[in-house]
C-alpha cells in the first residue's frame, strides 16, 4: 500500500502542465464555493462602492460651475462623470481588497507553512482564489453597475467601435493581473516586516493619486518635472499605476488611440511581466528567509 507514488512513470512536460492546470482549476472552483459563503457581504460592499462617486459628481459640478468654461484638460462635465464611472469598472478589476494584508497575516500567524509543506504553488493558488473572488463579485455587482450605467447613459459619448472595445477588454484583464501581482508582492514584504499595513497604506495613497482614480491623468500634462520638455504626465505614463484605473477608462472614451494605444498596451503587459517576476522573487527570497530565521 505504501510507496505507490513511485510505481508510476514520471509524467511528460505536457502532462505535468495539464495536471497543474487541473490543480489550479480545482482551487478556483473551491475558492468560488468559499466566496459564495460570504455573498451577503459582497452585496453590501458593492452598494457602498457607489457612494464616493456621488460626492465626486457634486464636486466636479461645482468646479465646472466656478470655471464657467466648457472643459478642463479636454474633459467636459459629462466626460468627467463618464470617466469616474469607467474608472470604477477599472477598479473593479484592478483593486485587490485584503490581498496584501491576507498574505502578510498568513506569514505572521504561520498558516503560510502549509504551502511550504504541500506540493502546491502558492502564487498560483492566490491567483485562482482571487479570480474566484472577482467572479463572484462580478456576478453580484453586475446588477447595480448596469443600473447606474443605464441611469447615467446620457453622460457617455456614443459607443466606441469593436476594436476599441476589444482593447478596453484587454486593458481590463491586464489591469487585473497588474493589480494582483503588485499587491501580492506587497503582501510578501511580510516576510521582512512584521506589519505591512502601513506600507499598503502608502501604496494606496500613491495609487490613488497616480492611477487616475482621483482625477483624469491628462490634467497632469501641464505640470513640469524640472527636466525640460518632460511633464509629470510623461513620467506617470511609464509607471504601472495608471493602468489600474485611468488607462481602461481613457481607452473607452477614445482618449488613447492607434499607435499610442498599442504602445500603452505593450507597456501595461510589460509591467504585468515585471510584477509577476517580482512576486515570484519575493516569494522565493521570502520563504528562504522565513526558513532561516523563523518558521
Amino acid at each position: 500500500m505504501s510507496a505507490s507514488a513511485d510505481d508510476r512513470p514520471a509524467p511528460g512536460f505536457l502532462a505535468r502542465r495539464l495536471q497543474g492546470l487541473r490543480v489550479w482549476w480545482t482551487m478556483l472552483v473551491i475558492s468560488l464555493e468559499e466566496r459564495l459563503v460570504y455573498r451577503g457581504d459582497f452585496i453590501l460592499g458593492t452598494a457602498m462602492r457607489f457612494l464616493p462617486i456621488v460626492t465626486q459628481v457634486f464636486l466636479w459640478t461645482a468646479v465646472f460651475g466656478a470655471t464657467r468654461s466648457g472643459d478642463i484638460a479636454g474633459y467636459s462635465r459629462d466626460d468627467i462623470v463618464a470617466y469616474y464611472l469607467l474608472t470604477m469598472v477599472s477598479r473593479a478589476f484592478s483593486s485587490m481588497p485584503g490581498l496584501a494584508g491576507g498574505i502578510a497575516r498568513g506569514i505572521r500567524d504561520g498558516s503560510v507553512k502549509k504551502y511550504l509543506v504541500q506540493p502546491v504553488d502558492y502564487v498560483g493558488y492566490l491567483l485562482a482564489a482571487r479570480i474566484a473572488h472577482k467572479l463572484v463579485y462580478y456576478a453580484v455587482a453586475v446588477i447595480p453597475f448596469a443600473a447606474v450605467f443605464f441611469v447615467c447613459r446620457g453622460f457617455f459619448p456614443p459607443l466606441p467601435d469593436a476594436a476599441t472595445m476589444l482593447a478596453f477588454g484587454l486593458s481590463l484583464v491586464l489591469s487585473f493581473l497588474l493589480g494582483f501581482f503588485m499587491e501580492a508582492t506587497l503582501g510578501m514584504l511580510g516576510f521582512w516586516f512584521l506589519e505591512v499595513s502601513s506600507i499598503v497604506f502608502a501604496y494606496m495613497l500613491v495609487q490613488y493619486l497616480l492611477s487616475g482614480h482621483m482625477f483624469p491623468l491628462d490634467m497632469l500634462a501641464g505640470i513640469p518635472t524640472g527636466v525640460p520638455g518632460v511633464s509629470v504626465a510623461e513620467v506617470v505614463r511609464f509607471l504601472p499605476f495608471e493602468y489600474t484605473a485611468y488607462f481602461p477608462a481613457a481607452v473607452w472614451l477614445g482618449k488613447v488611440r492607434g499607435a499610442e494605444l498599442v504602445r500603452s498596451l505593450v507597456v501595461e503587459a510589460a509591467w504585468v511581466v515585471v510584477m509577476m517576476a517580482a512576486c515570484r522573487l519575493a516569494w522565493r527570497r521570502g520563504t528562504a528567509r522565513y526558513s532561516a530565521f523563523g518558521g
Binding site: 500500500m1 505504501s2 510507496a3 505507490s4 507514488a5 513511485d6 514520471a10 495536471q19 487541473r22 490543480v23 480545482t26 482551487m27 473551491i30 464555493e33 468559499e34 459563503v37 460570504y38 498558516s111 507553512k113 502549509k114 511550504l116 509543506v117 504541500q118 506540493p119 502546491v120 528562504a288 522565513y290 526558513s291 532561516a292 530565521f293 523563523g294 518558521g295
Partner: protein
C-alpha cells in the same frame, strides 16, 4: 537532480527497516531580539537592538527505519517542533545534515513533498468555511491521486475514524476532536510514506485521544508508514510507540525502547503495602528503605537488587494484608529526566541503533 534515487521497497514485515530518516548533528539557532521594558528603551531599540542566540536544537543525530513509530517526548521548548519543522523542510538548519526518503527536506522538491505529511495542531490543511469533503477534493488534485485510489483511501480512513457524517459540514462548525480527525484524513489521503505528527492529542478529551490512538496504530501497521510523533503525554507514547526519544533543551537525552528506559534510569521498584492499621513510623524506618506512610498504606522505594532479600523480611511483619511491586511509573522517570536536563549521562550511543535491536 530529483527522482534519480528511488527509495528501497518496504522490507518484509518483521525485519528491521532500512533507514528512511537520517539525521546527523542537526542544529538550529534562532536570533531573538530582547526588548527591555519602557518607552525610552523602545525608542533606543529603534536604533540598536540587543539580540541573543537561542539554540532550539543542539546537534541532534537520529536514524529511523522504515515502518518505525517513534515518539518524541519533551517539555515545552525542548526543540521537538523545531525538529519536525526541519524534517518537513519548513525551516533550514544552522548546522548538520538530514535526509528523509533520500531527499534533503529543506530543498522542498515536489517529489519529496508528495511523499510525506505533517500534521501540526488544528486548523491546518482544511478550508475553514467549507466542508472537509471539498478540502479532500483539492488534496486529490494537489497530490495527483487517481480517482479510484482516492475514493478507496478516503472511504477507508473515514470509516476507521467514524467521521462519515461530518464530511459535508463546514469545518468551522466542528469540534476540536472532529477537526483533528478530519485533519488526519486529509494528511493521509495521499498515503504518505512518512508522517510527522506534532502534538496530535493536545486539547482532546480522553475518548477522542483513545480513538486517535487506535486509528494511528492501525493505519501505521497497515501501511508500514514511518511516523514521528511529538507529545508531552506519556499516554500517547505508551499506546503507540515502541521507540522513545526524550528531548530536553535541544538535545536527545534518551533514545531507545520504552521498556529499557525503566531499567536505565531507575534502580528501584515501588513496593506498596496495605496494612491492617496505620503503622508506627519507627517500625517502618527499621526496614531501612525510603518510605511514605499514607494512613494504613506504606509506599517503599526498594533497590532492585535487594527486593528478594527485603520482601520476605517486610512481609513477615504483622498486619500486611496486601502487597504490590511495581516499576517506577514512566511519567515519574520522564519528569525526572526533564528536570535533570543534560545532567544525566548520555545514554544515546549504546542505543542509537534502536529499531535494529541495539542496546546492552
Amino acid at each position: 537532480m530529483h527522482n534519480s534515487s528511488r527509495p528501497p521497497s518496504p522490507p518484509p514485515p518483521g525485519s528491521p527497516g532500512a533507514p528512511v530518516i537520517h539525521v546527523e548533528g542537526l542544529a538550529k539557532e534562532y536570533r531573538v531580539f530582547d526588548k527591555p521594558e519602557g518607552l525610552l528603551a523602545s525608542v533606543t531599540g529603534l536604533f540598536r537592538r540587543t539580540s541573543r542566540t537561542v539554540e532550539a536544537l543542539r546537534g541532534v543525530s537520529l536514524t529511523v527505519g522504515r515502518g518505525e513509530f517513534v515518539a518524541m517526548l519533551g517539555p515545552n521548548g525542548a526543540g521537538k517542533t523545531t525538529f519536525l519543522k526541519l524534517l518537513s523542510g519548513i525551516i533550514t538548519p544552522t548546522r548538520g545534515r538530514a535526509t528523509v526518503l533520500g531527499h534533503v527536506p529543506w530543498e522542498r522538491s515536489d517529489d519529496f513533498r508528495r511523499r510525506f505529511a505533517l500534521v501540526m495542531g488544528q486548523r491546518n490543511q482544511l478550508w475553514w468555511d467549507l466542508p472537509a469533503a471539498e478540502s479532500f477534493r483539492l488534496h486529490k488534485e494537489i497530490y495527483r491521486i487517481d480517482t479510484p485510489r482516492f475514493e478507496r483511501t478516503r472511504d477507508e480512513l473515514v470509516e476507521l475514524l467514524g467521521v462519515g457524517t461530518l464530511l459535508l459540514r463546514p469545518v468551522r462548525d466542528l469540534s476540536l476532536g472532529e477537526r483533528m480527525k478530519l485533519e488526519l484524513v486529509a494528511a493521509l489521503l495521499h498515503e504518505p510514506e512518512v508522517l510527522f505528527l506534532d502534538e496530535p492529542t493536545i486539547g482532546l478529551d480522553v475518548v477522542a485521544q483513545h480513538a486517535l490512538h487506535r486509528f494511528l496504530s492501525h493505519v501505521q501497521a497497515e501501511r508500514g508508514m514511518t511516523v514521528i510523533l511529538t507529545t508531552h503525554y506519556m499516554k500517547d507514547v505508551a499506546a503507540l510507540c515502541k521507540r522513545l526519544v526524550v528531548v530536553t533543551q535541544g538535545s536527545i537525552l534518551y533514545d531507545g525502547s520504552l521498556d529499557q528506559i525503566v531499567d536505565r534510569f531507575t534502580s528501584h521498584k515501588i513496593v506498596t503495602l496495605d496494612l491492617d492499621a496505620a503503622p508506627d513510623a519507627a517500625a517502618v524506618a527499621r526496614w531501612g528503605f525510603p518510605a511514605e506512610i499514607r494512613g494504613p498504606q506504606v509506599v517503599l522505594r526498594i533497590d532492585r537488587a535487594r527486593i528478594s532479600e527485603a520482601l520476605p523480611r517486610i512481609l513477615a511483619s504483622a498486619g500486611v494484608r496486601d502487597v504490590s511491586v511495581e516499576d517506577v511509573p514512566l511519567e515519574e522517570i520522564v519528569a525526572e529526566l526533564f528536570r535533570s536536563g543534560s545532567g544525566a549521562p548520555p545514554p544515546r550511543p549504546a542505543i542509537a541503533a534502536a529499531g535494529a535491536g541495539g542496546g546492552p
